[in-house]
Amino acid sequence: MSTSKPLLSIRGLSIDYYTLSGIIHAVRRVDLELCSGESLCIVGESGSGKSTLGVALSLALPLNAVVKSGSIIYNDIDLLRARRDVIDKIKGREITMIFQDPLATFSPLHTIGEHLEDIAISKLGISKREASNIVVDVLKKVRMPDVDRVLKSYPHELSGGMLQRAAIGAAILTKPKIIVADEPTSMLDATIQAQILSLLKELVRSEGTSLVLITHNLGVALRVCEKTAIMYAGVIVEDGSTLDIIKEPLHPYTKSLLASIPRSSHRVSRIIHIQGEPLDPRLEVSGCPFANRCPSARDKCFESVDYVKIGDRRVYCNLYSR
C-alpha cells in the first residue's frame, strides 16, 4: 500500500441485503484504500458483491441494504454516518458514477443536452448559460463527435459508444475526486470497449481523478488500472498491482480464474472452469469463502483465515501464512 494518506479508505465494511429468501451477505469485512489519482479495479464474478461495493461508494444503497459494520472514510468524513447536507455536497459532485447500460442511464424523453445541463445546474449551482458552456466543453473533452447534434439528440438516436461517452461526460462534469464505473464497457462491442477504456484512462490521468472500476474482466483491469482487488463471495481475496496479480496470482481463486480464460494460442478442447458451486451468499463463514472449491484447501481453511502481506500485495489465504 502506498505511504501517502489515502483519499478513500474502506474499513471492515459488511453489507447485508434483507430479502424474502433470507439475509444475503453481499459484502464481508472489506478493507480497501484508494489514493488520490489512483485507479483501482474490483474484479469478481456475478454475485461477488462488487457492484454492491460500488453502489455503497456512490452512496446509493437500496433501502433493503443494511451496513452491518465498518466505515467508508473520505477526506476524514465517514460517509456512512455523515449528516445529510454533507452527503449532498459529496454525492454526485465529488463522487460520481458510470453505469453499465448507457441507453438506460438516460431518460428517453430528454435530450443529452438537457440531462447534462440538469446535472451542472443542480450540482454546481450555475446559470443555464454557464451550464451549456460547461456541457459543450465536457463533451469535447470526452471526444464526442458532432457535439451540436448530440446535445439536441434523444438517447435512442445515438449509438451505445456515444451514449457511454456522454455518460462519462456526465460523470466528469462536476470535476469529481472519485469516479465509480460499474462495468462501463460490458454492453459495448469490442472496438468501442477499447476506445472507451482508453478514454477513461486518459481522463483519469489528465483530470487527476481517482477511478474505481468494477468489472468481471481481468483484461479490462490490466488495460486501465494499476491496482486490482479480486473479490469472491463478498470478500477481497487478493489485492495488489494489476500486473503482479496477472503475472503471478497468489490466491487459489485468482489462479483458477486466470486458468479459465480461454486462450487463442493454446488449442484446448474444453474451457477449464472452476469446480463446484459459489458459496451460498446467505451463509456466514469464518474461514475462507473459497475453501469448498479450493484444490489446496486444508482443514484450517474452513475455520479461520487472515490476510497475509507479501510486499505491496495482500492475500486472504492460509497457504502463505508462516
Binding site: 454525492k91 453505469f99 431518460s107 428517453p108 443542480s122 435512442h156 438516436e157
Partner: protein, 289 residues
Amino acid sequence: MGLFPCDFFKFLVKRPLYTTGFIIVVAFIILGCIAPYILTKPEDAWGVTYDLNKAFQPPSPEYPFGTDAYGRDMLNRVILGSRYSLIIAVCVVGLSLIIGVIVGLVAGYLAGIIGTVLMRLTDMFLAYPPLLLAVAFASVLGRGVLTAIIALAISWWPWYARLMYISVNSVKSALYVEAAKVIGLSKFTIMTKYILPNSLIPVVTQAMLDMGSAILEASALSFLGVGVPPPIPEWGRLISEGWVYVSKAYWITFFPGLVLLVTVVGFNLLGDAVKEYMNPRLRSIVAKR
C-alpha cells in the same frame, strides 16, 4: 419538454390522419364556443318550442336533421348540444386527469405511508360503480352543468390515479431514475422532470379515449334525472330521448349519434397524435398510412 410547442404543428403536418383528428376537435370546440350565436331557430335549440304538428319530420331541406317528438329542429339542438357536451367532456376528463395524475404520481413515487393512504382512498372510490357514485354526488349537489361535471369527475379520477400509479411504478425502477438518484438530484426534480413525463403517456392516451365515454356518462346522469336539467340539449340526452322512437324516426338518434362518433374519433386520433408526439422515439418516424 413543453406539451404543445409549435413543433407539434410541424409534427401534425406530416401526418394527415392526425391532422384530421386535430381539425375535428378544433372545429367542435369552435362550434361549441359560437353555438348560441349561429342558431337559426334558437327557441327550438333551447327546447322551449312545443309544436306537435311539426313532430317527427324526416330530414328535409328545411330540417336537415329532421325534428324530434316535440317538433324541434334537430340541427339546432345538435349545434347547441355541442357546447354542453364538449364542456362536460373536456372538464370532466381534464379535472379527473389532473387529480388522478397528482395522486398517482405522489403515491407511486413516495410509496410508504402517504402512498398507501392515497391508494386506499382511491380504492374506496373504485369500490363503488362509477355511475352510482356520480348519481349520488349529483343528487346531493343539485342539478346543473357544473354539478354534473363535479359529480362525474369525482367518480372518474380514481381510474387515472390507478393507471398513473402503475405507470409510475414501472418508470421509477428504470436505471435513469437510479442514475438521477446517484447524481443526487432532489426528489422533487426526479419526480417532476423524469418520472412525470415518462409515466404520463398511457394516462394521456386513456384520457383522450375517455372523451366519448364522458359525454355518454353525462347523458346517463341526465337520463336518470340528475345532472344537466332538461330541456338543455346535450348530445347524450338527444340520443337517449330519440332512442324510444328509433323504429319510427331514426334521425332523432342518428344525427346526434353521428356527431358524437365523429367527435370521439377526432379525440382518439388526437390522443394517438399526442402519444406519438410525447415519445421522441415515435416522433421521428414519419408514419406511412
